[in-house]
Amino acid sequence: MSDKKIRHGHKSKNGKSFIILPIIFCLITYLVLYLAFVPSFSPVISAVGMFFSDNEKDYSTEYDNIFVPVSENSTVPTVTKKDSNGQEKTYVKNDSVQYPNYGNLFGELIINDCNVDANLFFGDNDVALRNGVGIYAGSFVPGYGGTILVAGHNNTYFNGLKNAEVGQKVEIKTSYGNYIYEITDTAVKKATDRTAYDLSADYENLIMYTCYPFDALGLTTQRYFVYAKLVSGTPIDKEAN
């Protein structure tokens, strides 16, 4: 190497520094940024992560239909157990029940006397109420032994509730069995009246409600409630959960 070249600092002839130094600078830059923002980095990353998912969002307004009607002659897997009174009772096997997810169509609600025949959804969101009636997700599915709170629009699927009378039969069909209820009462109550239903009841009961008055234009502040008791239907063996 000549003296001139040494003076010019040309010890490295292959130009490695043109690659290595920029990479080092790049790493240091991100290290500096990380260290500068380290106190707020983790919460920011966690917060940003909440807005993102593994897959692209599905914007379809379709719903999943898991309803396969049970015909009269078909047998749903059952198990016989003694109840609290020591009497033998038949239950639907818990593992044969496909519990619905929120928004699933999983049954059908029929009141022949009122001309009501609607798809039954789990959840009472807009898609459900547009295509049928929906069980409030904080209540129970038929056969589970609790309160089934069903909502529907008064101008569409639950318009027929205006003809509801005590003694009429309500049928709910699901993939794990068919349930018959009998109307015991009807009432008009305020939309904000929380005493209109008891979600903690330890017996199976059906409550259907819709806006009141019927066929009126505008958002109303009253609700029309129809109460029914279970007449027949095999309960789910929920103790196997």
Binding site: H8, G9, V32, E56, P213, L217, L219, T220
Partner: protein, 276 residues
């Protein structure tokens, strides 16, 4: 000066220059995108935002209609893209002007009211009670206004406005800093090809630092995995963010071209220096 010490000092200056170039790239991209009032409107126009938004509002209003006795057909003409466009433009303009950004629902309410009048008389309907009609109109107007509001805009408004006001100063300051650092490197090196080499390190580092973010995010399609309920906002967000990433990628490419130019300039100047 010892050559090792000199090398370290200029290495540090080159790093600082690369860091400032990185910052100025982000500042320029921010200034020309998010902080530019016409940027969001342009993206709204190209991402079909107004048509998507009209459909979404109509969908929500139809659900309200089901609960209040209005037929789906009633909502065919209640909302249109032109009104949505005008209200959104006014909302964005007032936001970027630092004023209280509100969606003006006056035109929507008037249209809804007149459509309701003709619907009631045409179908010979009864109104539930005195307050129901007003309540319904207000609910519809609330749905309309909520649909047009841009998520997080109100929360971030104070920061964005402050940033928007400061950004020209920040960019100016960073540009001056870049000039000062370049002057230091050029005028303190007796051999100018060395100065070119150090600046080349900086621009190459800026190419990597600025380019790595868009390269990762664009190649993985990360932005398209955001969860936003509204399809219109989703398309707007993905397009706006991708455009920002593309702008950063362009900055990165500019740094790359400058680096290549500086590299050959350095080679040429060194050759000349060796020959002298």
């Amino acid at each position: 000066m010892n050559s090792k010490v000199r090398h370290i000092i200029y290495g540090i200056i080159s790093f600082v220059l690369s860091f400032v170039l990185f910052l100025i790239s982000f500042a320029i991209v921010l200034q020309s995108t998010i902080l530019n009032p016409s940027y969001i409107m342009d993206n709204m126009n190209t991402s079909n935002y107004f048509v998507d938004k009209r459909d979404e509002i109509k969908e929500s209003l139809v659900n309200l209609g089901y609960a209040s006795g209005l037929d789906e057909k009633f909502f065919e003409n209640v909302v249109d893209e032109v009104t949505i466009h005008d209200n959104t433009q006014a909302y964005l303009n007032s936001f970027y002007a630092g004023e209280e950004a509100k969606i003006d629902t006056t035109a929507f309410k008037q249209k809804f009211n007149s459509e309701l009048d003709s619907y009631i008389s045409k179908n010979n309907l009864k109104v539930a009670n005195d307050g129901s009609r007003e309540y319904l109109i207000n609910q519809a107007a609330n749905i309309y206004a909520a649909a047009l509001r841009i998520p997080l805009f109100t929360t971030l408004s104070a920061y964005l406005i402050a940033l928007k006001n400061m950004m020209p100063l920040i960019i100016g300051g960073l540009a001056v800093l870049v000039a000062i650092l370049c002057v230091i490197i050029i005028f303190t090196n007796s051999w100018k090809h060395r100065a070119v080499r150090y600046i080349c390190y900086s621009t190459s580092a800026a190419f990597l630092t600025v380019g790595i973010i868009p390269a990762v995010l664009l190649s993985t399609g990360y932005m398209s995995k955001i969860n936003i309920d509204s399809r219109a906002f989703y398309n707007l967000f993905v397009q706006s963010m991708n455009n920002i990433l593309i702008a950063l990628a362009i900055c990165s490419v500019i740094f790359f071209i400058v680096s290549i130019g500086l590299f050959f300039l350095h080679k040429s100047m060194r050759r000349h220096a060796s020959e002298d």
